[in-house]
Each structure stands twice: as structure tokens, then as C-alpha cells.
């Protein structure tokens, strides 16, 4: 109650927004628990999309619209589809892990959670002008964008101009990620000889749709080997 009273005194951080934030956080916890309890991979992938979408809404209430936009497009949109297409190569359901093998993971989660709770005390208040993120060079960018670059969206100015090196690095990272996928899987899914058994149904490089576009260069021996 103290928190809400303090928030009401702060015009930028009104009570409805605080309540909305609490609801969104609660929703995130519910979705996270549902993901942990779920066994159907399809439902898990869909719930991960929901999780990203709730995150995006939460970022909007924090006034981070650019981040929210990215989260909605990448997290809820494309990664859901990519996870689905990867999931179709695996079984549709995950097998439960026995209880005794879960204690190690539980310890890691509890320790990491405790460390984060310990660190919360040192975090600057939301929107604090004296916090390291807002002071120093950040303030400089906001002040100088209007005269040096003259575009209204400071985020774009920082991303493309002031921090152009970082963004170049990001583009190269995406490029290398794409390169890695193409080297491992092939552009038409035809790299190497492979076999998968989703739901007991055997699929391999000869039965995949990509095989239709590629000439079969195997020797008769290899063909016989592949069919057994």
C-alpha cells in the first residue's frame, strides 16, 4: 500500500500503470508456469509467443516503444514460426524428466533468483535522472541529436549514428547466424545426409521436399544402405 501511495504522488508513474504492470507481471508468471508444466511442444511454442507478447505490452507501459516493437516482431512473431518449423522435425511431446534429476536445476534457479533479489536494492528508481543509464553519455546523445542529426526519434539516431559500430556488429552477428544455419542445414534443407524420426515417422534427406530439386548422386550401394 505504501508503494501505491508513493506512486500516486509521482505524476509520471500513475496508479493505473502500476496496477497494469502488476497484472502483466502476474500474467508472465502464470504463462511461465504453464510452459514448465506443459508437455505438448506445440502448446509450449505458442505460449512462448504469448509470453513475448505480454513482455511487449509491459515494455510499452515502461515507455520503451522501440524495444516493445522489436519484442513483438521478433519474439512473438518470427521466433514462434521458426520454433514451429524446428519442432516439426522432432516429436510432438516432450518426455517428463524424473524428479531426482531436477534438484540441480532447481538449485541453480533458486541461487540465481536470490542473487537477483539481492541486486534489486542497488537498482536506480524507474526514470531516475541521476541513474548511470540516463546521466553521462546518454544525456549527451539526447541533447545533441536535435542539433547534430535533427531527426525526432533519438533511438534511431543513437542506433544508426552514435552507436553505428554496435549496430554494424549486430548486423554481422545476424549475417553469421544465417551463414551458420545455411552451412549446417543447407539453403533447401539439403546439407549432408541426415535422418529424423518425429512420431515414429522416418524422414531423411531423400524423403524431404528438398530432395525433389536435387539430383540423387548416391551409388547403388549407398541407395541400398539407405533403404534398409
Amino acid at each position: 500500500m505504501n508503494l501505491i501511495a508513493a506512486a500516486a504522488a509521482e505524476p509520471a508513474f500513475a496508479v493505473p500503470v502500476l496496477l497494469l504492470d502488476i497484472c502483466l507481471m502476474a500474467l508472465l508468471v502464470v504463462v511461465a508456469f504453464a510452459i514448465v508444466r506443459m508437455r505438448s511442444l506445440f502448446a509450449i511454442v505458442m505460449l512462448q509467443g504469448v509470453y513475448s507478447l505480454v513482455c511487449a505490452v509491459w515494455f510499452v507501459t515502461l515507455d520503451a516503444v522501440d524495444v516493445a516493437f522489436t519484442e513483438a516482431a521478433v519474439g512473438a512473431g518470427v521466433s514462434t514460426v521458426l520454433m514451429l518449423s524446428a519442432m516439426l522435425l522432432a516429436d510432438r511431446k516432450s518426455t517428463p524428466v524424473p524428479m531426482r534429476r531436477q534438484f540441480g536445476a532447481l538449485m541453480v534457479v533458486v541461487l540465481a533468483g536470490a542473487a537477483m533479489l539481492y541486486a534489486v536494492g542497488d537498482m536506480p528508481a524507474f526514470g531516475d535522472v541521476n541513474s548511470p543509464a540516463n546521466a553521462y553519455v546518454g544525456m549527451d546523445f539526447i541533447g545533441k541529436t536535435a542539433e547534430e542529426i535533427q531527426i525526432p526519434n533519438v533511438v534511431t539516431a543513437v542506433l544508426a549514428s552514435y552507436r553505428g559500430y554496435d549496430t554494424f556488429g549486430e548486423v554481422v552477428v545476424i549475417f553469421s547466424a544465417g551463414l551458420g544455419v545455411l552451412l549446417l542445414l543447407g539453403l533447401n534443407g539439403n546439407a549432408g545426409r541426415w535422418e529424423a524420426k518425429p512420431n515414429g515417422q522416418v524422414i531423411n534427406d531423400r524423403t524431404a521436399p528438398s530432395a525433389a530439386n536435387v539430383e540423387d548422386i548416391r551409388t547403388p550401394d549407398q541407395k541400398a544402405e539407405g533403404e534398409t
Partner: protein, 159 residues
Amino acid sequence: MSNPEEKLGVDEFGRDPHVLLRVIAKFLIPLIALFAFYVQFHGDYGPGGGFQAGVILAASVILYALIFGLAEAKKAFPPRLIRYGMTLGVILYGGTGVVNLILGGEFLNYSNLASDSIAGQHYGILAVELGVLVTVTTVMIAIFYAFGSRQPETSDEDW
């Protein structure tokens, strides 16, 4: 998606069980692509930019692949474009920096790209955002093609 032996999207009575899905997707896909370009070129004024626009543009191609099948999508967006697109985006980004270097400035400082330093910044940001758009779009489509081409067409019972 339908079974491979059937004609795409038609059941044994010659009806399309996903006709609503296909009609609505056909209507939506151009709008999604248009929205991607809005996000791209409006990035200077509002939220958005190359990353988001690239993902949305890729999503329009992926939606087309999900609704009409991978083979149709590969006709609309040929896989060979991906190899050129991925590299072209990175070269466009790095090249903008190098051009400014040649014009007497610093790498990735766009002030020398035009006679006026502010106009130069605008051109530079436009060019690098275009590079980001091209790379992100093609890489997202590449990952989808790479995974999607591995599995046989999904039957409706799989969901």
C-alpha cells in the same frame, strides 16, 4: 498444409478446407509487406527501423509459405536471392562507412556524405537502415527455408 499426394489445399471432393484462411491471407500479406516499409522509412520519426521492418517483411513471406506451401513461396522469393541479400546488406552497411572514410571523414560517421553534415547524417542513416533491412529479411527467410525444407508437408492431424 495438405498431404503431399493431394493437390495443394484441395480435399478428395475438390473443396478447399482452408479457403477462408487463404482468402484472408492473400488480402493481408501485401498489407504486412507495406507495413514493413512504413516501419522502415518512418523509423526516423517514430518507433521502428531496419530490424523490425526486416522481421515484418520476412514474416509476410513466411506467412505466404505457411498458407500456400513452401514450393510456392520459393517461386515468389527464390532461395538464390538469399545469398545475395545476406551479403549485400552487410556490404551496404560497411560500405556506407567506407565511403565516408574515402570522402575524408571517419568510419561510420556520415557527416561527409553530403555537403551539409545534417543531410549527410540523414543519407547515412537511410543507407545503413536499408542494409539492416536487407540482411535481417533474407536471414530470417533463410532460416525458415532451411528448417522448412527438411520436413515433409505437415498434415492437418499433426496439430
